[in-house]
Each structure stands twice: as C-alpha cells, then as structure tokens.
C-alpha cells in the first residue's frame, strides 16, 4: 500500500522504489543465462501469471496478520475449498465450458470464480467465529487452533469430495496459446494475469481511496489507537478475514483450473508459499505481497529452467536472501 501510488504527483507519500524493482532485476539477471528470447518471454509470462495467482491467495493473509497478529494456518483450507467450489460450478455447466462461444466460456469461468469467492468468504466467517475468535491475543493457542482447524477442514473436504483428484477442464476459449514468433504464451495465463491485476488494483483502490481502507491501514499499524478513535476494529477484522478467505478461494479456483484438477492437498502446498510471500513482502503490506509474489514466481520459473533441482527450494532461498538484506521484508509496515 505504500509502494505503488498510481498516478499521484510528488511530493505525496514517497515510497522506496528499489524493493519494487527486485523482480525486474531478477528478470534482467536471468535473461543472459536463458539465452533465447522466446524462452525468456514464455518463462516470464508464466512467472507473471503464477505470481498473480499466488498474490490473490496471499494478500488476504498478510492483512489478517498485519491487523490482528493472527497467524492463520488454516488459510490453506480456503485455497482448497475454492478449488473444489470451482468443480461444483463446472460440473453442471460442462456444456458452457466446451461450447464454442467466448461469452459462455467466460460466463462459466466468472461464475466459478464468484462461487469460489462467496463460498470461501462465508466459510471464512465461520472459521473466524469458531476457531480464531476464542483465542484472540494468545499467539501459541492461535497457531495450534488454526492448525487444528486446517486439519479438520482438509479431512472434511476429503470426506465431502472424496480423496481423489477431481478433474477440471479449461473452457474452450482459454485453451491453447498465443503465439508470437517462437514465443508461446498460454491464453489462460493471460486471463490469470488480468484477474490478478484486477484484484490488486481493486485492493489498492479500497485501501487507498476508501475510509474502510484507511481504517485497515491504520489498524495494521496500531489497532489500539484506531479503537481509541471510536472504530470497532473487531468488526473490521471479520470483514478483512472474510475478504482474505474469499480471495484465497479465488486463487485456489484459478490454480485448480490451471492445473486441471482440484485436490485438498493444494491447500498445504500453497500455504507454505503464501507464508514465504508475506514474509518476503513484509507482514501487513499488500504492495509488498504483490512484489513478493511476482518475485517468487519468476525465480521459481527461471530456476526451473536453469537449475531444475533447485527450483522447488528456490523460494526458500529467495526468502533467506531477502531477509538477510531486509530483515522485516521488502515493505515493512511501520510500528511492527
């Protein structure tokens, strides 16, 4: 939220530019090693798309932590639920998905996205009431309770949807790639990038242009003072939690479509990635998570091409490197 003030003239709040440029620096550094321009474009596009999906999943988590010091290990459950929610929409609407109509294809995608967001938002409300609220302020219990909640949620998902992966097919329009000479960019990746950018811009607008956003930003810094100014921070928090869960669900749905299948294991897998991203970005900073998501995804893609064995741990290495440079993340929030 401090990083990219779009279209504002100086000398408004000035943010440090260097951390935001790290993805660019990484891309430029990797380019010579990759050699071929078309491969570079493909990898970078893939990285951007992946980064957008990760950002969608992670941004809610950073605000939840930033505002209330709640380390929600159950966040992965929302990601998984979102994936399954998408299957619920796609199953009866298979004909829309396979139809040769952009409108129908888009419609089923949007319906799935909205369904995932709504279901996970509602589930987030329940999770906050039942699991998180009773242990506000007690860090250890919170960690334990949310882990327990995550276990229960994952098992319930297996019970409800079965232990096997559920296949998902991309709607017709989004299959295949755009080809530019030698470079191929998957159509779905473009869609994912658009969705991610929309989410990001939407969040920035809310955070920077609305009173609620103002309250959230202030709450991340000093929750107590916001209360002393007369605002019900706990209500605000529930809203943030629900929004974060909804976004996680949306991200999960998109990721499931991308992979072609929905499975509860996606929750645990991306939970770790979300933690890494919000640590790198700075706890409580949406802009930081945005930069960090792109950074992590680009590094993973480039590493996957250049040093395959290291690809899966590349994000851990990135985290360690960033923390050695900036111990509180790329865009730390004041007062933490």
């Amino acid at each position: 939220m401090t990083a990219l003030d779009v279209g504002q003239a100086l000398p408004r709040r000035r943010a440090e530019i260097l951390p935001a440029l790290t993805p660019l620096i990484v891309a430029l550094a990797a380019a010579p090693f990759i050699g071929s321009f078309s491969t570079f474009v493909t990898l970078t596009a893939a990285g951007l798309a992946m980064g957008m999906m990760i950002f969608t999943m992670a941004s809610g988590l950073t605000l939840v932590f930033g505002m209330m010091d709640v380390l929600n290990f159950g966040h992965g459950a929302f990601i998984a639920l979102g994936a399954y929610a998408a299957t619920l929409v796609f199953a009866p609407l298979m004909s829309w998905s396979s139809a040769d109509s952009f409108a129908l294809n888009l419609a089923v995608f949007l319906l799935a996205a909205i369904a995932a967001a709504l279901i996970c938002g509602a589930f987030g409300w329940a999770f906050e009431r039942l699991i998180v609220r009773p242990v506000y302020g007690q860090h250890l219990k919170q960690i334990l309770a949310t882990i327990g909640g995550a276990i229960i949620a994952e098992q319930l998902l297996y019970a409800l949807f079965g232990p096997a992966q559920i296949p998902l097919t991309l709607p017709r329009t989004f299959e295949g790639s755009f080809v530019f000479g030698q470079a191929a960019i998957e159509k779905y990746r473009v869609l994912a990038t658009l969705v991610g950018l929309t989410v990001f811009l939407g969040e920035m607008l809310v955070l920077n242009r609305t009173k609620i956003g103002l309250l959230i930003r202030a709450g991340v810094e000093n929750r107590e003072m916001v209360e002393a100014l007369g605002y019900r921070v706990d209500r605000l928090f529930v809203g943030v939690f629900m929004a974060g869960s909804a976004l996680a669900g949306l991200g999960g749905a998109m990721m499931a479509l991308y992979r072609g299948q929905a499975h509860a294991a996606i929750g645990g897998e991306f939970l770790v990635l979300c933690f890494i991203v919000i640590i790198i970005g700075g706890l409580g900073s949406v802009g930081g998570s945005f930069v960090a998501s792109i950074l992590v995804a680009l590094i993973a893609n480039y590493a996957g091409f250049l040093v395959p064995k290291l690809a899966l741990v590349s994000n851990i290495l990135a985290m360690v490197a960033v923390l050695l440079w900036r111990p509180r993340g790329l865009y730390p929030v004041s007062g933490r």
């Binding site: 380390l71 860090h139 219990k141 276990i151 229960i152 019970a159 770790v272 741990v313």
Partner: protein
C-alpha cells in the same frame, strides 16, 4: 527418586497410567503377539522421544518451531544412507548417527542464529519453510537419497529378523533380531528420556521456563536468552535426530514419507498438546495415545462406517471412513487446545486436586 531427577509424576491416576504404558512397552514382545503389535510398540517408543524432545522446545521454552521433523529426517537418513552405502556394520551405524547429529547441530545453530536476525513471529513461519525445503530436497536429490522411493538397507547381523539369540523360545516368543532391535530402541529411548528429564529439572531447565514466561524479564535478570534458546534447540534437535535414527533402524527403510513429511510434524504437535505441554510425562501419554489411535482406531472406524452405510445414512460413512481418522483426532486436538490446554496430564492433575 534420582533416576526421575527428583520429579516423579504426581497424582495417582497419572502414575498408574504411566506405569501401565511403560510396563506394556517393556514387555511388549511377550505380551502382544504379531508383527503389527510390535510395530506399534516400537513406533510408540520412537514417538515418545520425538514428542518429549519437541516439548522441551514448545512446552518448556515456549518456542514454536516446525523444523522438528527435519531433525528427525536427518537422523533417519543419516543412519539409513550410511548403512545403505557402507554395508551392515556397527561402524556404519555409528558413523551415520554421528553424521546425522553433526548436521542437526549445525542446522540448529543456524536456525538459532537466524532467529536473532528476524522477529520472533517470523520464526515459526521460517522453520516451516525450511522444513518444507528439506522435504523437497530429499525427494529431489534422488541419487543420494533414493528420492520418493527412499532406501531400504540391511542392518547389522544381530538385529536382522533372521537372527536368533537362543535356540529355544523364551516365554513362547522366539528371540529374533527383531526383538533385539526392539529392546535396543526401547533402551535408548528410555535413557534419552531420563536425560531429558534431568535437563528440564536442572537450573538450565528452570531458566528455560522463566524465558517462556517472560523473555524480557529473563534478559533483565541477566540470562542470555539467545544462548539458552539455542542450547534448547540443539538438545531438542539431537533428541529428534536420535529418534529418527532409531526409527529408520527399526523399519530398515528410510524415505520422505516416513522421515520428513509434514504430517509427522503435525502428529508430534498433536501428541504434545493432547498429552500436555510443559510436561515430559505428557509426551509419553500423548505419544502412546496417538500411535495407538492411529493403529487401532481405524479398525473401529471401519466398522462404524460400514454400519452407517448399511443403514444408508448420508455423509456418515464418509466421515467414519478409516482414512479420515485424522479428522477425529483433529477435533480432539482443537478441543484440547480450547478446553484442556494442559492436556491429559493437566486433566488428571485437576482431578487429583478435587480429591483433596
């Protein structure tokens, strides 16, 4: 009692429960017949050590770390790979154990020092990420570690199942290498547990608890918390390494699933919380309960699931499916966190208090 470091379990119910568990484990090969039962007993021993060493960190020092399973894996792979590469000799075993211990110590130190640099709230998340990385590495470096499939290996002759110590059966049981392995595991775990007991009841252990209660105060009183925390992490790590080594020795196999998966970490967490944080005896109870449930609860659930299916009840068959046993344990876990934060140990002690 000096062997229990002047801190025996208090409360009649607790004492009885512990004696039962210990007796069952001591005489397991003779009391219970069949490979599965012995497996359960061996795994219980290993988990007791794993849980107790974790409780040193979580319950006594108040440090939340998700890297414990990583040390377990280091021990398992150390012994496993050594025996695989160097053949079934005691020398290889010792070398593997030493190598594992050394690596664990280095990792523990690195983690301890890293925690200096970052905020404590990062620490839990960072340990999670690091443990995850280790898991991935073990799968990726398949030339070394055997990848996803892991490595099977041969153990020293005396410990092999085909070995017979004496010709005749003792109390109706053939004393094979398997039984000997079991008692090796049991003895080492017992010794390690008693040493951990000594640690937590020493002045060092009391400082750890002071740090857990109020780190700032402890610092103000002159204790260098970073030193204590790092030492506690190291001891805890060594305990886990030893547990891992014993486990892989027992299984004669090491692989990512049995040695490094995050589910093991979650299991240990459940054991410690349900048993009772801040109590090593709680680790015994928690580990025993968990392994027992894991092994036998599933049979019970299978029965319930079938019964529900027979009566065509919706959803229940799926909920009672034996594969979903973790769901119920998860529920118990969450309930324990809210209503019984002192675990079984705390609940038993509370009952004691009302008697007086």
């Amino acid at each position: 009692m000096n062997i229990l470091s002047e801190n025996p379990p208090r409360g009649r119910a607790l004492q009885i429960l512990l004696i039962l568990i210990v007796l069952a484990l001591t005489l397991a090969p003779f009391l219970f017949h069949g490979a599965k039962a012995l497996n359960v007993a061996a795994k219980t021993c290993v988990m007791i050590l794993l849980a107790a060493s974790y409780d040193l960190l979580l319950g006594y020092t108040g440090v939340v770390s998700f890297a414990h399973v990583m040390f377990f894996g280091v021990g398992a792979y150390g012994v496993g790979l050594a025996l695989y590469a160097l053949g079934p000799s005691w020398g290889a075993l010792a070398l593997g154990l030493a190598a594992g211990a050394a690596l664990s110590l280095m990792l523990a130190l690195a983690i301890g020092l890293f925690s200096l640099r970052v905020q404590s709230i990062f620490f839990a998340m960072v340990t999670l990420a690091v443990a995850y990385a280790f898991n991935v590495l073990a799968s990726q470096l398949s030339d070394l570690t055997g990848g996803e499939d892991g490595r099977s290996f041969t153990v020293p002759a005396v410990l092999q199942p085909s070995f017979r110590l004496v010709h005749d059966k003792v109390f109706g049981v053939a004393i094979t290498g398997k039984i000997l392995t079991y008692y090796l595991v049991f003895a080492v775990v017992a010794a390690a547990f008693l040493m951990l007991l000594r640690v937590v009841n020493s002045p060092f252990g009391r400082v750890l608890q002071a740090i857990r209660e109020n780190p700032f105060r402890a610092e103000a009183l002159g204790y260098r918390t970073i030193f204590h925390r790092t030492l506690a992490t190291s001891i805890s790590a060594l305990g886990a390494t030893l547990a891992g080594a014993l486990f892989s020795l027992w299984l004669r196999y090491v692989g990512p699933d049995t040695a490094l998966s995050f589910s093991i970490q979650v299991d240990v967490l459940v054991m410690v919380v349900v048993g009772g944080m801040g109590s090593l005896y709680g680790a015994i109870i928690g580990a025993a309960l968990f392994v027992f449930a894991e092994s036998y609860l599933q049979d019970v659930m299978a029965g319930l699931s079938q019964a529900a299916a027979d009566v065509s009840l919706p959803l229940l068959p799926a909920l009672f499916n034996p594969d979903r046993w973790l769901l119920w344990l998860g529920l118990v876990f969450v309930l324990a966190v809210y209503f019984a934060p002192a675990g079984v140990v705390g609940a038993l002690k509370a009952d004691e208090a009302t008697w007086e």
